[in-house]
């Protein structure tokens, strides 16, 4: 079984701060991390390797420094990592990204004979689109199993995956035909800490680098020119200011009174509408 895992290196959004003076996003000193969902995909890859002796390839499209993320991925004990990097990829939206990634997966398919499974995260915490996985599946014409939160079985003989996926309306127990693309929810597992031999191997590991020619891509379909959507503005939303602490370690009854008093000061129309049954006593 050959598996390709797509990972994304992102700035740790928990550490992104806003400089209120300049109204800029402060990214300096913000560490780059592997997207949380993708770490779970890597953990799955490590398990597949142990269970089926699967061969696991990790790819990322990104700038040269994304190599670091690939090295961290190799520390999961995986086989090969490839950085897909070229200036023509800059400014890619999801349509262009899925083009580049699917071309790369096709290239791996050419090299290895077959790709049986592609894993992506459910969504990347920086862009938050959740569109890349479904887009790659469409381009490769792979079966799409989005939002996988539990894998029950991989039946290699019959080429079907049994899994449970999460939807807004509930859970679905599904059978997915291989080759398939699964998007992984972070509840699926807890990623491991790499063991020492794998860690040492990963430090010395040098990922291969592919440019747009290596993946037979049409440069017009990549990057800015291959992207139908354009970001025309980016604004920092106004900060929400904290109000008063109206009660500090008071007797609970006093605290409750102060809370209700404070609430009454809000003359917001939606609030009044919401509390009307309360005020009028006809709940």
């Amino acid at each position: 079984m050959n598996v390709v895992i797509c990972i994304k290196q992102i700035p740790d959004t928990t550490n992104v701060r806003i400089d209120r003076k300049t109204n800029n996003l402060v990214r300096e000193g913000v560490p780059s991390i592997i997207n949380a969902d993708d770490l779970r995909a890597l953990e799955l890859g490590a398990k597949f390797k142990e269970e089926f002796g699967a061969k696991i390839y990790v790819i990322t499209m990104g700038p040269p420094q994304a190599k670091e993320a690939l090295k961290d991925a190799i520390a999961f004990g995986l086989d090969e990592a490839i950085l897909i990097s070229d200036r023509v990829f800059a400014g890619s939206d999801t349509l262009a990204t899925t083009y580049v990634l699917s071309q790369s997966i096709k290239k791996i398919e050419e090299e290895t004979g077959h790709v049986d499974l592609v894993l992506t995260g459910k969504q990347a915490a920086d862009g938050d689109t959740g569109q890349v996985g479904p887009g790659i599946a469409t381009r490769l014409n792979f079966a799409l199993g989005a939002y996988i939160m539990k894998l029950d079985e991989i039946d290699l003989k019959n080429q079907v995956i049994s899994a449970i996926r999460r939807l807004d309306r509930g859970f679905e127990k599904v059978k997915i035909k291989m080759p398939a693309l699964l998007t992984i929810m972070s509840d699926i597992n807890e990623p491991r800490y790499p063991d020492l031999p794998n860690l040492i191997h990963s430090i010395k590991y040098e990922p291969r680098v592919w440019n747009y020619k290596d993946i037979d891509a049409d440069s017009k379909k990549c990057g800015f020119f291959g992207s139908p959507t354009q970001v025309v503005r980016a604004n920092i939303p106004p900060a929400r200011k904290g109000g008063d602490i109206v009660s500090k370690n008071d007797d609970p009854n006093i605290a409750a009174d102060k809370l209700i008093e404070a609430l009454k000061k809000f003359k917001n129309a939606r609030l009044i509408e919401t509390l009307r049954p309360l005020i009028e006593g006809d709940l």
């Binding site: 959740g130 996985g133 079966a143 006593g281």
Partner: protein, 337 residues
């Protein structure tokens, strides 16, 4: 241009019921249509026995409904819906296509846009039009809510967006409204079955977090599943729902349907009461658009107080029951007059 500019709105149907986001999007599409000459709002309904829902789409503001009628389309299966909808888009050539940003909607729109090779803006919270350019302006939060990006799709049609439930205003149904219902009898071509649904487990409770006017939310400070009972009591009293931080969900105190935040739901109730929640950024992105935020926490340095309108430093186990009692007393007071 001579041709009408059609704004498609997918009417998402869950267990034979329309999802409320569909009406919100039809309401928004009407507003956009009013600024764009020669435009029409089309509701797109898939499945069978959907006549009621088609009518309601008209009452809610659609000019027309495209009813893609087919036995195979009653349940949402991605590759089937994708096939049928792509065909309809190719036939009717909409100018814009709006889909609710439910998990299903985001998956579906992602596959459709890829097949059509058009742009798709995910999980928008704002939508407007530049009339002289006839372009949609789509606004969405990125970087964990730290940045609002405004996005356009200038050279490809349809301009597609998924839009977060609960953000746009629906119009009340008006039964006097009329409109054409175009029925497309649709038989799916024989396709390789890519995915098969063996079993569906609907969400157990009727959790209605995204539409609740009041959310009483609990975190690690609640201390256990028992602690959520007092939150539930307060929520019920205020006609609201309970919510939770990821820490509380991870402890197994409450199911993940209630989780608020980056990996949970994004909500903006009138009142959000955070009980025993520290206010981690991943939690805040899910609730900071609430009108009024109340925080109850024993630690006066908890970051939640940095965004709360009303802060109470105290033990939630004492303050919440006291608050519930006080509010109950207020309620039982006889009506004035």
């Amino acid at each position: 241009m001579m041709e009408n500019k059609r704004i498609f709105v997918l009417v998402e149907v869950v267990n034979d019921q329309p999802h409320p986001v569909s009406w919100e999007l039809i309401g928004k599409a009407r507003e956009i249509a009013s600024k764009l000459e020669g435009s029409e709002v089309w509701g797109i309904v898939l499945g069978k026995d959907r006549d009621q829902i088609c009518n309601e789409a008209i009452y809610r503001g659609a000019n027309k409904v495209l009813y893609v009628k087919g036995e195979d389309l009653n349940d949402y299966i991605n590759y089937k819906y994708r096939k049928a909808i792509v065909e309809m888009v190719r036939k009717y050539k909409p100018w814009a296509f709006l889909v609710g940003a439910t998990l299903e909607g985001r998956e579906l729109a992602g596959t459709i846009a890829t097949e059509l090779k058009t742009g798709l803006t995910a999980d928008c919270t704002g939508l407007d039009i530049i009339p002289d350019k006839e372009l949609l302006e789509m606004t969405r939060p990125t970087f964990g809510g730290n940045l609002m990006a405004t996005i356009m799709c200038p050279e490809h049609l349809p301009q597609m967006a998924t839009i977060r439930p609960g953000v746009m205003r629906e119009m009340p149904p008006d039964k006097s409204r009329t409109g054409e219902i175009i029925v497309e009898d649709y038989t799916l071509p024989s396709l390789e079955p890519l995915i098969e649904v063996l079993e569906r487990t609907p969400v157990t409770s009727k959790v209605n977090l995204q539409y609740a006017p009041v959310v009483v939310s609990g975190g690690k400070g609640v201390g256990g599943p028992e602690g959520f009972k007092q939150l539930r009591e307060l929520a019920n009293l205020l006609g609201g729902e309970i919510g939770a931080s990821r820490a509380a969900v991870k402890q197994g105190w409450i199911s993940d349907e209630y989780q608020v935040g980056q990996t949970g739901k994004t909500i903006h109730p009138v009142i959000y009461i955070a009980c025993g929640i520290s206010g981690a950024i991943q939690h805040l992105v899910g609730m900071k658009e609430s009108n009024i935020i109340i925080a109850i926490n024993t630690d006066e340095n908890a970051p939640i107080f940095g965004i709360s309108d009303i802060g109470i430093v105290g033990d939630l186990n004492k303050v919440v029951p006291a608050l519930t009692q006080k509010l109950k007393a207020l309620l039982s007071k006889p009506k004035a007059g």
